[in-house]
């Protein structure tokens, strides 16, 4: 058939091949250029529970890549080889049973091959945890995370601390109602990609997620199930420490909060329990005046029973605040206190009627809570 290919078809083929090569080079160049700075990438596992999915992913990707090249290759070949030219006659066949059976069976076999390690890994990851695990209770709120360490007695928010080389079982408690407004709590999903896959937190259900880290480090994550206006701002940071550093952190968290007798911070401490008018709130019902202390505890290991916000006992020891959205510094804190809903839509923290001086004092107080 292909005895007398016209010259233009060869140049066309050559051009097509050259074009594809250039494209591939460009793609691989960009692929290499970016490996540095992807703090939330699922492709950079940092512990065994993130590595197991990654291994499966790599196997699947390799198989898919081969299938992709073969099938697209056949397509492109057919498009070039069988394109219309003068005198071409289309062969009039209706099928080919052998080919059809083969092309049904082969993909089924490949999929069966993929199914085996998949099911194995599913049971591994969701199977019984090891006996010497550390437990952390996680409660998700709109839009922040509460972490309770039952064995260590620590209560903190948005920043999770774990020891390295230690299997940690997160007990993901789906609260039935929102502590602030009494509505049903919504679904969130806990996800720190470099430490493990995501697990939903469903009101009325408790799920478990196993994570671990090989090395000390800082890992980014965020809520993965759409949960309202600030879903994008519901982030989480995990720190992994050596056992000694972790123990030191626990001790620090269990120490009583700093006392401030004087200065701006002292004034801030007094303001913390003063009642302010509410300028705006996303919560429709409820009081029209609040104290900071009506939601925020400044005492280790304590939750405020009714209207719950993050425990602030050692607030200054955290690198971020407000669902790990903002870096913890004076400027960001002031902006947050001035207009919480402006910087973080839908936040349940009410905007209080604070003067600039009061904001200053409160910031100083918060920064003293090391």
């Amino acid at each position: 058939m292909a005895k007398t290919k016209p010259a233009y078809s060869r140049t066309f083929t050559r051009r097509a091949v050259r074009g594809a090569l250039v494209l591939l080079l460009l793609l691989s160049a960009t692929a290499c250029a970016r490996s540095e700075d992807v703090p939330q990438s699922s492709l950079e596992p940092a512990g065994e529970f993130a590595r197991a999915p990654d291994v499966l992913w790599n196997v699947t990707l390799a198989i898919a890549a081969v299938v992709f090249v073969l099938v697209q290759g056949v397509l492109v070949f057919a498009l070039i080889r069988f394109r219309h030219k003068e005198g071409r006659k289309a062969a009039q066949f209706h099928g080919n049973t052998k080919v059809e059976v083969a092309l049904t069976v082969v993909p089924a076999l490949i999929l069966a091959g993929l199914a085996i390690p998949t099911v194995g890994t599913i049971f591994d990851l969701q199977g019984d945890p090891a006996t010497d695990v550390m437990r952390v209770e996680v409660i998700a709120h709109q839009f922040w995370w509460e972490f309770n360490y039952p064995e260590q007695g620590v209560t903190t928010a948005n920043e999770l601390h774990i020891p390295v080389d230690q299997e940690v079982v997160l007990e993901l408690q789906g609260a039935a109602t929102d502590a602030v407004d009494g509505n049903a709590e919504v679904i969130h999903s806990f996800w720190i990609p470099r430490l493990g896959g995501a697990q939903d937190m469903i009101p009325g259900h408790t799920n478990f997620l196993r994570i671990s880290a090989d090395e000390p480090g800082r890992f980014m994550g965020q809520c993965k199930e759409f949960c309202g206006l600030s879903h994008a701002n519901m982030r989480v940071v995990a720190y992994s420490h050596t056992q000694e550093d972790f123990d030191a952190w626990v001790e620090e968290q269990n120490a009583p909060a700093a006392e401030n007798a004087s200065g701006d911070a002292g004034a801030g401490q007094e303001l913390f329990t003063e009642t302010f008018d509410v300028r705006s709130t996303v919560v429709e019902e409820g009081a029209d005046a609040y104290q900071c202390a009506s939601c925020h505890a400044v005492q280790p290991g304590v939750e405020v029973p009714l209207r719950t916000g993050p425990n602030l006992t050692h607030f200054a020891s955290r690198s971020t605040f407000a669902g790990a959205t903002f870096e913890n510094n004076a400027e960001n804190l002031a902006a947050w206190l001035r207009d919480p809903h402006g910087v973080r839509p839908g936040s349940k923290m009410p905007a209080l009627d604070l003067s600039e001086d009061e904001i200053n004092d409160l910031v100083a107080y918060l920064q003293s809570l090391e």
Binding site: A90, Q92, L111, F226, H231
Partner: protein
């Protein structure tokens, strides 16, 4: 309005065959098909504008184009629009115009119900969009997960629950209509296994709609009761369960994916043979694969819920079913390749879009298989990787396939060929723009960017690919503009198509273009699959194809002197367009004031009463 002859109904019977009244009162499946497609294309532009706003917001970190509030409304409405107001009705529009023509029928089984379906669809879409002017559009995502959807403030999600309910009525009625039409109204000799693949896929789609729509209807009623009447289906504090919504939604939602893709698969299964000058490869296999997908599509819904915590047994079961639905899907891809193999490929615009479908669907299909790998899906679920995947299936697949159909059948519908030059510009811009917009989203998702987020901070490594995706989205927008220019230009300057411009294989090409009101002067008698092609050509034992008559096309022009005189057609009617507003009026009543429920209900009831009394045909 033309003079109407009194015909024993409640109203004088409309008789206009041209002018806008003829469109309002039509029961002709071809006019209704055009209305469906035109409406869907208008919504396509609106949904596209929402997409551009979303991409503009995400082009750079900490974008300030949209507020979180508007962003949530836009991404919700973008999804609802593209699914319920674009892909589904475009498929339905093409089915409407083509299905009777392809099976040799003069209309659908229930012409007035067909008109009613269209008006309900249009008003359902407008009802949904009216929310933008009534305090805010739905903002809980197209998937409307409870309990967020039950307690989002404002009326947005109530509009969602009621709007989808109305659109569901249109879909259900359409499904019944197509099932009855295809099963009962085929021309003599058009056995099931001689039907064009597009008709087969229409039939499977109609059955999927018939069974899927009631499921979402139940879920939407429960959502409505939770929101409006303080019921507690999904509130755990009072004994409800949020996971119930997810099961109901995805039990509808996954068949819905096949409802969107199967018509497009049918279209390209007719386009590829025509432009390869070959019969379809493995007709039976491609038909049975479609049916198999229709059945298996019901057994994979929980792969949308792998992170819910259903347990390792359920997750494994749904992983397996999800993997194995790839087998019939693969069969289809191989059959399309087999159809082109050793063919004589003509790269007209419909063919380019069909090839684009095959190529993009390979990617979407492969990324679909990766979702079955539960442990890695726990990383990819709810990230941009998923957004990339389903756009490769529903845009690279469904939309490319539907455009293939629009370019292919445009000459049949309007009698004029769309410009090939502009068509090719449209294709290449869309192909490039599409891959730039959605290709990088795979990488973004794997690098940890969750979906449904109105903003992202700097320093996550997501800036480059987001910018590229935005550029791609705008290239797609330009390609759609080229298509619209092409459509308008063709009306004035387009080349006359004739009955059979593509050397078609199926019955619709045997009748003049545009198809006359009565479709066929004489009901065709079908002797083979691809009957019209066999009337034109003889295949000799040595596989040589020779035309039966010099010049090819037969039977196409011979009835032009006889404009269907004496053929009884269903008469136009006011009642479908009168009955349809009853539904949105009732829905407004649920939101604003209960007496409106009564008003809407009475209007619907009275119109249906008149409908029963009105004969379907006008006696001569």
């Amino acid at each position: 309005m033309a003079t109407a002859a009194a015909q024993g109904g409640l109203f004088r019977r409309p008789t206009a065959t041209t002018g806008w009244w003829s469109w309002v009162t039509t029961v002709d499946h071809k006019k209704i098909g055009i209305l469906y497609c035109a409406t869907a294309l208008a919504f396509f532009v609106i949904g596209g504008i929402e997409a551009l706003a979303i991409r503009t917001q995400l082009a750079v970190p900490n974008g300030t184009t949209l507020t979180a509030e508007t962003y949530n409304q836009f991404f919700t409405m973008h999804g609802l629009t593209m699914i319920f107001l674009v892909v589904m009705p475009l498929g339905v529009g093409i089915m409407n115009y083509l299905a009777p023509l392809m099976i040799g029928a003069r209309d659908v089984a229930f012409p007035r119900i067909n008109a009613f379906s269209y008006w309900v669809f249009l008003l359902g879409g407008l009802f949904l969009y009216s929310s933008f002017f009534l305090g805010g559009a739905p903002d809980g995502g197209w998937f409307g997960y409870a309990p967020l959807s039950t307690q989002l403030p404002g009326n947005g999600m109530t509009f969602y629950a009621l709007g989808l309910q109305i659109l569901g009525v249109a879909s259900l009625l359409g499904a019944v209509n197509f099932i009855v039409t295809i099963l009962n109204m085929r021309a003599p000799g058009m056995t099931l296994m001689r039907m064009p693949v597009f008709i087969w896929m229409t039939l499977v789609t109609a059955f999927l709609l018939l069974f899927a729509m009631p499921v979402i209807a139940v879920a939407l009623f429960e959502l409505m009761f939770d929101r409006v009447y303080n019921a507690n289906f999904f509130n755990p504090a009072t004994g409800g369960d949020p996971v119930l919504w997810q099961h109901l939604f995805w039990l509808f939602g996954h068949p819905e994916v096949y409802i969107m893709i199967l018509p497009a698969m049918g279209i390209i299964s007719d386009v590829l043979p025509t432009f390869s000058r070959k019969p379809i490869f493995g007709y039976a296999a491609i038909v049975f694969a479609g049916i198999a997908i229709g059945f298996m599509g019901w057994g994979v819904w929980a792969h949308h819920m792998f992170a819910v915590g259903l347990g390792p047994v359920a997750n494994s079961a749904f992983a397996l079913s999800t993997m194995f639905i790839a087998v019939p899907t693969g069969v289809k891809i191989f059959n399309w390749l087999g159809t082109m193999w050793k063919g004589d490929l003509h790269f007209n615009t419909p063919m380019l879009f069909a090839i684009g479908f095959v190529s993009m669907f390979i990617i979407g299909g492969l990324s679909g298989v990766t979702h079955a790998i539960v442990p890695s899906d726990a990383q990819q679920t709810d990230t941009y990787y998923i957004v990339a995947h389903f756009h490769y299936v529903l845009f690279g697949g469904a939309i490319f396939g539907l455009f293939s159909g629009l370019y292919y059948w445009w000459p049949k519908v309007f009698g004029k060929l769309l410009s090939e030059g502009l068509g090719k510009v449209h294709f290449w811009l869309m192909f490039i723009g599409f891959n730039l917009a959605f290709g990088p989203m795979h990488i973004l998702g794997l690098e940890g960017m969750p979906r449904r987020t109105y903003t992202y901070p700097d320093g996550m490594g997501w800036n480059l690919w987001n910018l590229v995706a935005t550029v791609g989205a705008f290239i797609i927008a330009v390609s759609i503009a080229v298509f619209l220019v092409n459509a308008v230009r063709t009306k004035r300057k387009g080349r006359e198509a004739g009955a059979d411009p593509w050397d078609g294989r199926t019955l619709e090409w045997s009748t003049p273009s545009p198809a006359p009101a009565y479709n066929f002067a004489e009901v065709p008698i079908v002797k083979a699959r691809d009957d019209f092609w066999h009337r034109k050509y003889v295949v000799k034992p040595d596989e040589q194809v020779t035309p039966v008559v010099a010049g090819g096309a037969v039977a196409a022009h011979e009835d032009e002197h006889d404009p269907g005189h004496g053929i009884h057609l269903p008469a136009p009617s006011f009642l479908p367009v009168l009955a349809a507003p009853g539904l949105p009026i009732m829905a407004y009543g649920v939101i604003y004031s209960w007496p409106l429920i009564v008003v809407g209900g009475l209007l619907l009831l009275l119109a249906l009463f008149g409908w029963v009394l009105e004969p379907s045909e006008v006696e001569h």
